[in-house]
Symmetry: C2
Amino acid sequence: LSKMLHSDLLPKGSPEVTREFMSTLVTLLLNYVEMQNDRTSRVLEFRHPKQLEQIVDIDVPDEESPSNLYQILLDCQQALQYQVRSGHPRFFNQISTGLDMVSLAGEWLTATTNSNMFTYEVSPVFVLIEKAVLQKMRELVGWPTGDGIFAPGGSISTLYAIHLARHRKFPLCKTKGVYALTKRPIIFTSAHCHYSIPQAAAVMGLGTDSVVEIPVDEKGRMDIDKLEEQIMACLERGDEPMLINATCGTTVLGAFDPIMPIADLCEKYDIWLHADAAWGGGVLVSRKHRKLMNGIERANSVTWNPHKMLGAHLQCSAVLIREPNQLFSCNNMSADYLFQQDKHYNVEYDTGDKAIQCGRKNDVFKLWLMWRAKGTLGFERQVNGLFELRDHLVRRLNEFEDFELILPEPECTNVCFWYVPPSCANMVGNRRYERLGRITAIIKARMMDRGNLMVGYQPLDDRPNFFRMLFSNAASTNEDVDFMLEEIVRIGHEL
Amino acid sequence: LSKMLHSDLLPKGSPEVTREFMSTLVTLLLNYVEMQNDRTSRVLEFRHPKQLEQIVDIDVPDEESPSNLYQILLDCQQALQYQVRSGHPRFFNQISTGLDMVSLAGEWLTATTNSNMFTYEVSPVFVLIEKAVLQKMRELVGWPTGDGIFAPGGSISTLYAIHLARHRKFPLCKTKGVYALTKRPIIFTSAHCHYSIPQAAAVMGLGTDSVVEIPVDEKGRMDIDKLEEQIMACLERGDEPMLINATCGTTVLGAFDPIMPIADLCEKYDIWLHADAAWGGGVLVSRKHRKLMNGIERANSVTWNPHKMLGAHLQCSAVLIREPNQLFSCNNMSADYLFQQDKHYNVEYDTGDKAIQCGRKNDVFKLWLMWRAKGTLGFERQVNGLFELRDHLVRRLNEFEDFELILPEPECTNVCFWYVPPSCANMVGNRRYERLGRITAIIKARMMDRGNLMVGYQPLDDRPNFFRMLFSNAASTNEDVDFMLEEIVRIGHEL
Ligand SMILES: Cc1ncc(COP(=O)(O)O)c(C=O)c1O
Ligand SMILES: Cc1ncc(COP(=O)(O)O)c(C=O)c1O
């Protein structure tokens, strides 16, 4: 391969060189997969940006003598060496973690087909698959029919939902814009909601001020009395209560806003109910844990990211709509070059005109392939396993005095805590928490230098930095949880 | 593999079973790649939706006994069998075609790392690579510095640009919304622009009526006099001319709006100039053809989709901004859980807070790997080759009387034409074109049944359906162009 150039690959080159090049790459990739699953291997090899810029050669070349195929494989090796192993059983840093092999197989196939999802004409099987998977997800929400689409991430899925809610209440907005609205639409959401809610309001020309954040209770759930107060205040101001967003599984604390009372208010005041279950939606596959989302069938729309709790690869996010044929009337632009109406097949299968994108990635095949491999019952076992890991961690945290739990009974698989070094054991009040906050950031830095573990931290409301442990990786075990605690204590004692 | 289940794969199962499963899959995928490059193989095996639903088993299973690994490979085989081969040298149906092997290698690696682009912390090398590639693309536009981001497709890239233009002219809009605008912002674009422009206006709460479509000349380019007329009319109405979109490579005719005169008007009236070069941006790598975008350096923002003319895999689209540090102030929401400011590394490298997404796919690595393999000069040769194919087709169309060219001298690699069957040879006027339009759809249907070729068609303005041939596949040759003409004539004579 060291003598071979890009032009020796298909289409101009030969199948043999292509096979050799791709097989050698696959060996590299499978080694990377095996290494990630080896607990003695590092989660990351941290380098500061300036340092890394010296170590890695990422120059984008102009000159004619491009790298030969051997150099390309070295480029791949280099990228793998310094990439953070988000599939490692001790990577707890983000909500999306893990490396499901069937999902990976689905992604490799998707890439090989280079398939675009906007018409049946170019991706017949994948369009049928998307239809079937969206239907299964709606059934799990509790809807017999409805609409939906896979979108590039939960933030865009939620943008779709709020855009649709505005279209239903103010259909003229599509052509005339927000000026045509007689009243200002207001969005109600939890103070702990994901920032994609105000982000959508900014993009949609409503402004972040149109988002009213409702305080949360001590469990991090939206306070329903305060919610009704704000709805009434909104009506008194002459504004229009347009949408309530119930966060099902908040990003940090993992709280579930109570859907039933929120749905009652939505019916009472004729407000669109969106459920941001980007994270918590995974509980719907578990008969044991889906009660956390009791009443979800009363929502008008739901964001659900299988690339979070179900362990599908990035990106895999769906927005589900209770009523059928909603997205088309909201988003269609009827471009003749793509959505010809005189095609020789039933153009109802051309989903492109209900999207706010034109070209759209095939994000569904990998999820379908996982579903074929596990069945809903397999996903249920996987999700139940994550909750068992959470329970194990909560038990251990209660045994250790070096730690202080933020929420004694977390709802989702998030577990938030402070590490309390001996030096702070008998401190009290602000001084104590301020110090715990600073220590959290220092421990995280040390953790990344040692490279055996990655756990995220953040401040929240008046609480200084604290660790947020989070289970979404099917590979993690109780030993990994115990290792996490011991590693933090080790680092803590070094300080 | 027929006795093995999902649980026999990593992480719970063994490396051996994993290796066997993934290697068998890779064999399937490489066979698919080789088949696509064999001109005697079909471009597609068309089935009507109802028919395909009977043939393929796409059930999403609940029950416990999930398919074994052999069945999963059969599921993959089935998907490949009926998928349209967009990498086939005779697939001319969409703007994104082809299958570049180095790009495929990049996608397989990206999937294996399952990398999220929102912070340096989790994707250090890929974040540095995105920075380097965006810089290279800006240099080709003619900007020494600037800003930019990879987005999920050209439509979202253009949404970023228009959202930023609004932010620059009406910074209060981010918090107060469109109501706070003293004047209505108006967007000017060509009547042949891509529908993502009105789509963005609808999503952003400006309304499609805020988009003023300017008539085009006989070459399909925006009429500059009419543009100035509309700007003055807008000012007279008391509206605010906010943005002019110059389409560099229109979707159907491949026309390039003249940037220089448009840039003059932008400077004269202080209007943001966006260039939608999603399709035509590829010419920037070619010293011979970049003159089609003369003056591009005067734009404020550019949309460029390497997943079109440069042949990168879907999705690969960037929005480039002339001035640095623009996207952050427009889009940041400063979520503490992700963009902590007390990290132990330089948080300037955390690009997530300038995005309108939260999680963001790694769309850049495959493009970087292609650039490493070819160099800009390799891309130049590739793009020049596409224009040579276009010239070959135009020459052949002028030789055949069975065809009628829509534009005698196309600007981009789009070639639009009617097939004129003997029965219409001496027809004239509307009757003739109406019949040509109907025949086009019939020929396309036959073409898909025969499965050896796929060429798109569409009506445009007052012209009925006509074929749009389009070169973006580096695998196509003059023989494929000749085959296309012969195949259409064969089908035409059967009618
Ligand atoms: C001129 C033009 N702009 C924008 C787009 C939208 O790009 P995407 O399909 O990546 O959203 C297209 C797609 O064909 C196009 O031709
Ligand atoms: C509750 C919640 N909603 C939405 C999102 C956004 O999802 P994405 O990152 O796919 O845009 C997240 C991401 O962490 C989340 O936790």
